[in-house]
Amino acid sequence: MEKFRRIAKPVSQLLVFGLLSLSLHLPAAQAGMIGTETIANAAQAQQNRAHIQEALNRDGVKAALVARGVDPSQVQARVDSLTDEEAQTLSGKIDQLPAGGDSGLSLLVFVFIVLLITDILGFTNIFPFVKHPAHRP
């Protein structure tokens, strides 16, 4: 339940942002100049669809950053400095990407792993799920 509640909030925010951006974020036609980004990126056939998808991604990233404790007043500038590709990666994998910060092995986990290994090796018998089949001669 708790987990569901944690997930429900960012998901609903993402949906709301997404639906809003469908109506607000239609691409402004660029008059005259062809932008360097367009020239540098080969795939241009689906540009309009990509625009809408991109707006969805960016709003999704905003919601995701706020949900993970970033000050809402900082979010816009952080999202603005991302490329489309980066925004897409971030909106999909924000919890899977490595976050460099040294938050490391807690002692508890370490002890658990050591005891698990000693259990498997047959020196201890702490965890019921580690089976020690008795071999009869």
Partner: protein
């Protein structure tokens, strides 16, 4: 009987242990690098790179502040926290580290996953930001540090890391932790200097996103630097033109676009942008000529080419 059982249990345990410890084990690049140590006989160390000892969980801001300050951008780790720190994850993501470099008008360039690239950058004066996993994949401890030196004859590497200004460790140990970070390494460059190991397409792809932030001065300078190394690059030529155009330098933009049309007579984008730069200077006849060429060549942006031509022709008809 009992002995064989114990032996089996022990060997099984060792098998699991070695799976956990040695996973992803392969040959290290270190051996290859040390064999070619003659290329860098002298130890290299960038002593001028500043040191910021990290606060808890803040190795991202501290490391980034070090590489940015090495390019004369004055930022502090505390100033970078609101740009890259992700409180719930107690750390910083690589993508946001890269994005933050752009916000400070520097070019973030991610290196090829090779020790040689790291050493080549350090040897040419660029400190290298790296992501390491100091623990194992099954319980990661992600950490950012800055490579500032190496000594191949002693097989040592020098890092600014955590609270240590000179963290000197064997290259082999560094490589093991860096490999678990997927060999991720980045330099932050002032726009007028290319990374030593820069390659054309990835470098330009690192410059283009600064346009989104309207860092036109920086992009103009980076495209110009790229053209010195790759004089024929279409993206750099058009990027230079677009940057100058955005800065209001119409004549400079025209010059860059004209060079692009000469080096790439098949590029409709180059002709279209040349036409626009000429039209803005009211060189209508020349503008129409360039716009017509763009429409003839066609391509995915042909709708824009036709619009450009139409605008120019409407103006010419009105004045006649």
């Amino acid at each position: 009987m009992r002995n064989s059982k114990t032996a089996r249990a022990i060997s099984g345990g060792f098998f699991i242990l070695s799976l956990l410890v040695l996973s992803g084990c392969g040959t290290l690049q270190t051996d290859r690098v040390l064999q070619s140590a003659a290329a860098f006989p002298q130890p290299v160390e960038l002593t001028a790179v500043p040191f910021f000892p990290q606060e808890e969980y803040q190795c991202g801001p501290a490391s980034l502040a070090m590489v940015l300050n090495a390019t004369n951008a004055s930022v502090t780790p505390a100033g970078l926290v609101p740009e890259i720190y992700l409180p719930e994850r107690q750390g910083s993501l690589q993508i946001e580290m890269v994005a933050s470099v752009r916000r400070h008008g520097r070019i973030p360039y991610v290196l090829r996953p090779q020790l040689e690239s790291v050493f080549a950058e350090v040897a040419s004066g660029n400190p290298v930001l790296v992501l390491q996993n100091l623990s194992f994949w099954w319980y990661p401890k992600w950490h950012y540090a800055v490579v500032v030196g190496f000594d191949l004859s002693h097989g040592a590497i020098v890092l600014r890391s955590g609270r240590e200004e000179r963290h000197v460790i064997p290259i082999e140990l560094f490589e093991r932790t860096w490999r678990r970070g997927d060999y991720w390494a980045m330099v932050a460059m002032p726009p007028d200097r290319l990374p030593f190991t820069a390659e054309e397409t990835p470098y330009l792809q690192s410059v283009v996103p600064l346009e989104r932030l309207s860092r036109w001065q920086e992009t103009a300078s980076a495209y110009a630097a790229a053209l010195k190394r790759w004089p024929k690059s279409l993206v750099a030529q058009l990027g230079l033109g677009n940057s100058r155009y955005a800065l209001g330098d119409l004549r400079g933009a025209e010059e860059a676009f004209r060079k692009a049309t000469q080096a790439h007579p098949e590029s409709a984008d180059a002709f279209n942008n040349l036409a626009q730069a000429l039209a803005d200077q009211e060189h209508w006849a020349k503008a129409r000529q360039a716009a017509r060429r763009a429409v003839e060549l066609g391509g995915p942006q042909s709708k824009t080419y036709r619009e450009t031509l139409q605008l120019i022709e409407t103006h010419i008809e009105k004045t006649n």
